[in-house]
Symmetry: D2
């Protein structure tokens, strides 16, 4: 297990799908930040299951309680423990599947790695693990916003082959994103995406998608070459989320087709600093933020747990037909939006503190 | 700076483009591994500049010396210091450009982050930094091969829009890869790629590409959820390399267009273990290796330093025309092949030792 | 803040004296260990306040709840969150002292370091912080005992100038230790120590003491030179406890008066291994356990919070007479015994796992 | 192995007694610090063997070379590699002892832990390992001095039972310390100590001693509760040095005999800040520096390698008489003085940067 992320803003998460509770300890948050549960709850509520017809029906309010680290509504500089109780536990829900590792799920690898595994749900590989990240990241978002004006906004940019290619990262707001259930700011495409998810759900199938994220007002200088470059930590952060299969920043894979003369972001004078005319770099150069918006995309595969029959084998190698039960999302990307945002905040805040250490 | 990678197999690199030397300390290599300079030199030589018409003419033999950590050709379990002297230093080579930050290069961000920067070459952001990684990774490759039979092979799968889509990862060998200067195993496409690089070079421009990597014989169980999942550490490792803009594992971004029923890798009985029929997962499930080949791709942007005139501004914001001099590769992917392989070995060996710690 | 200890067996603690709860996350405990609250409660109960006339009257049952990381009484290999609610909170108890930093307490340094501090009790510097360590260490003790037969026993070896110099570390048991309230196995001296503490309490004063600890059955080979030598990690562990001022292992300070010919532990053949005739080394050589009992001593200063009048100054520098109120121990060493034991277990288990990583 | 120390100012050392070279990489040194080899050499020369009749005759100039991380005499903010070549290698010098583990030396534990060990000298457990620490710490000393005016001075306060009890830490200077070969500022006692060492040497024996260290002008606020308290990191740092058996800060073990009313350091108004009337705390409260001088003592055991005959057993358990050959110090404390100072600087600088990170 490696459940801690960060060097100075350190988050350690805990919890499985069907234990008593999930959450995190945040160690390293500066003292004096105004903080109450309400500051954290907003992103948890955007992440919670059962919020719409597009998500798992598992009903969890996901109310967070701050157990330590604050007094009179301010942080003390001490560890902040954040706890969300698991309410709608149904340990037997997956019981019949205990002898059959779900294809493309973590049942098999957890069993082989640890020698045992949680009997129900995904255990530690469940999406519920992300609650601790979201809660901890919500604090980071608040600090980044208040200290530097950093704005982090993610949205759904594709569901299956429905691609919203004309998202304007500079003006994107969470209000625009939340205006549709699918969290795509392109309203016309959003409707198509929602239809696609509903069709997929009816077929007891699942579908993948892409989340795009922008970070505005990040100062020049964040990122620690050579191993903790900004894009390296973002990549680790995103690829540590369940169901992610790809990460790209700026021009990404499509940029490999360009020549340097097309791809290079030449400098121009901007207000009080140098900026770049284009932003193929996605806001980083040499692993360090350059003052331009940080732009990246994360690929989410279709959810592994599906109701459709699958011809597979059980742990003993015997052929079986699996029709998975339990509650799960047909498409993770709408709920992934706040997860990507808060996970981004965790990476950025840690790098911000590391840069501050230079004095 | 964050120049250390790994929890148990820890590599700390040092060196800039024009200092006395570059290299690394490897801490945590188990004792008793047979190791001489020759074991390390092979990959350094595959990485070295000046090896063909496709690479920078900077001439460096890049001969490595082991300063500590071995005796009578075996590791002692103590830190191994690996040193490569910089020979072909030309500190003045970039001098005229010192007032002009090269577009899409790290000049500007290093200057802003640190308050000063190396006067010539890329300093710490130079590709020479990777020498320490390659040397340390070559040791990891040897240990992985001898202990578990792990084979890591990377190749060039695209240069610009020339894409080798039919690479067979199961049979890919380094001999096949090195059979062409461009390190693409598809001989027909390799010629086209070489032509493209030569054309680009003539135009004083640069071009991007993609490196594909496969890891065979990785045992089930490597990867440390939740933050140090195998794909998360690979993503960090790859995105910490100079010029990388994207990482994807298994189906990657294209997998987002699939349904779960198409994407899921159903289990089948294989020799003495469960395997999967397909491998959209790319060898990982839940962040842990599942025994299938690990497959991933890394996007490299076109090199930023080009001879073509660029209209940009200097550090003071004054418009200038920059025609960069100095020696650099028109396309990094052929030399990136051994870098990707050894960096992969660094990530894998650390996770292997962490799994061994479970006893 | 730095509330995480350990590389592979990682403990992160949280909680202040008067927040909702205190506890820890244990990350890295191997799967399959039988574990229930009862396994942890024993040491928490030995540590709890209000257990005798020698300790603070603050009444806390300190019942622990396991929130995650176990199922059906076995560990899952996932993070274990351990929570103890704070019940007897009296936030106003120290209120009158808020403008006066208590001499030799952390009020002043916390205020200066963080810019604010908990208004009551010691906040994070309170002895309640150690609850998370004790809970996490109790798990480590169980694993060490079951896996290697390791036995860790601490006792009080001095209170003020009353010194129990004839403790036999080889036969020392927790039953012997707990036979007296002061936790000194020398019954005659124990009575004197208890009298001394009672006298001190009556004078509204406090007194220091020493805890001696022995670890038996530690295998040869634990400890990671050069910075994480066994004695270095033990020293860090002990000196991170509240009120500790000194650490010595084996011959300690008195050994500096000896010649090498007196001090050296010559080897003798023991059952199936080499042992040493004497044990001035205290069970370590070169930072690595040598198979002999590990022996060390920890100095605890007199508690800073006393009822006696002290002439000091307030935060503004104005002279004041402070007669501290609140509840506190006149002598910490009896309650420090389980804290030293469990903190030792945290250090040892982490080093054990690191040695196992060598395969 | 764990050869890295520090979170933000990170030092990784390498090298054995008889390999090609020893040294360190310093990662995290702020850019812009003026730095040349001369700044580092002073402490290396104070540490070097062969400097007087009190030390081992092994002759090493211990000239350091900076391989990376500086340009034009200033740090770049990138890793600084520091190399000292081993010149006077005599691999065969200890050859005859290869079958006999030296009592109280690391031969046995290294062999058991790693499965092999350096054939000659102490390998990694040799005092030569400390060269990397001293070089890296000399840089930290310079930064601490220039940035905060921090002064670190250590001296020998006892050799065997000859104790210099009247050292004034406030006025102690390195000039006073270096005025005698034994590095004790009390000239009368220094002569006695020197005589004692010479007598010990003649007897082919060794003797222990104590080093006392003071750090002046450390600002309030350094130290990271709870596990990286200032005294905890100092204790780890000191107990990671070869031959150390004890650490105490402020009143240390003797303070355990005091009552709180005697031990407490009441506050008084000092220039622009609160100070304390006494300093039993040794400059720390709650794990954080309080602005008073930091005072601590380190116990060094007598050197294990002695020429006197010892009745012991070989690796196979057969009785043998060992008369150790090779070159070694009869008493380590004079050469330990710069090692303690620089190791202190490593701990302090890391904590300083961590405090700066709070912004």
């Amino acid at each position: 297990m490696s459940s801690t992320f960060g060097t100075l803003y350190r988050v350690t998460t805990f919890g499985e799908s069907h234990c008593k509770g999930v959450g995190a300890i945040v160690d390293g948050c500066p003292a004096g930040l105004e903080l109450t549960e309400a500051d954290i709850q907003t992103q948890l509520t955007r992440r919670r299951p059962g919020q719409s017809t597009l998500t798992t029906p598992r009903d969890e309010a996901d109310q967070v309680t701050i157990y330590s680290g604050t007094e009179f509504g301010k942080t003390l500089g001490t560890p902040i423990m954040l706890l969300v109780n698991n309410k709608d536990q149904r340990p037997g829900d997956y019981g019949e599947m205990s002898k059959i590792p779900r294809p493309s799920h973590a049942d098999y690898t957890y069993q082989m790695k640890y020698g045992n595994r949680a009997s129900s749900g995904g255990g530690r590989s469940s999406a519920r693990e992300s609650i601790g990240r979201v809660a901890a990241g919500a604090i980071a978002e608040k600090w980044l916003k208040e200290t530097f004006g950093v704005e982090i906004v993610a949205c759904v940019s594709s569901v299956g082959d429905i691609v919203a290619s004309e998202i304007d990262p500079l003006g994107l707001t969470r209000e625009q994103v939340d205006a549709t259930l699918i969290r795509c700011p392109d309203r016309g495409l959003a409707d198509k995406m929602i239809d696609r998810v509903h069709q997929t759900l009816e077929k007891k199938d699942s579908i993948g998608g892409v989340v795009t994220c922008v970070c505005r007002n990040v100062p020049v200088g964040w990122g620690e070459p050579v191993f903790d470059k900004l894009e390296a930590k973002l990549a680790q952060a995103m690829m540590s989320l369940p169901a992610t299969k790809g990460f790209e920043i700026g021009s990404g894979f499509s940029g490999t087709c360009l020549n340097g003369s097309q791809h290079n972001d030449v400098f121009v004078q901007k207000e009080g600093r140098l900026g770049t005319l284009t932003n193929h770099s996605g806001g980083v150069q040499g692993g360090i933020s350059n003052g331009e918006p940080i732009l990246f995309r994360v690929a989410f595969k279709p959810v592994a747990t599906i109701g459709l029959a699958q011809e597979t084998v059980d742990f003993d190698g015997h052929p079986v037909t699996l029709e998975a039960k339990g509650r799960h999302d047909p498409c993770v990307v709408p709920r992934a939006v706040p997860i990507v945002e808060t996970m981004t905040a965790l990476a950025l805040m840690d790098l911000a503190l590391r840069q501050q250490a230079r004095g």
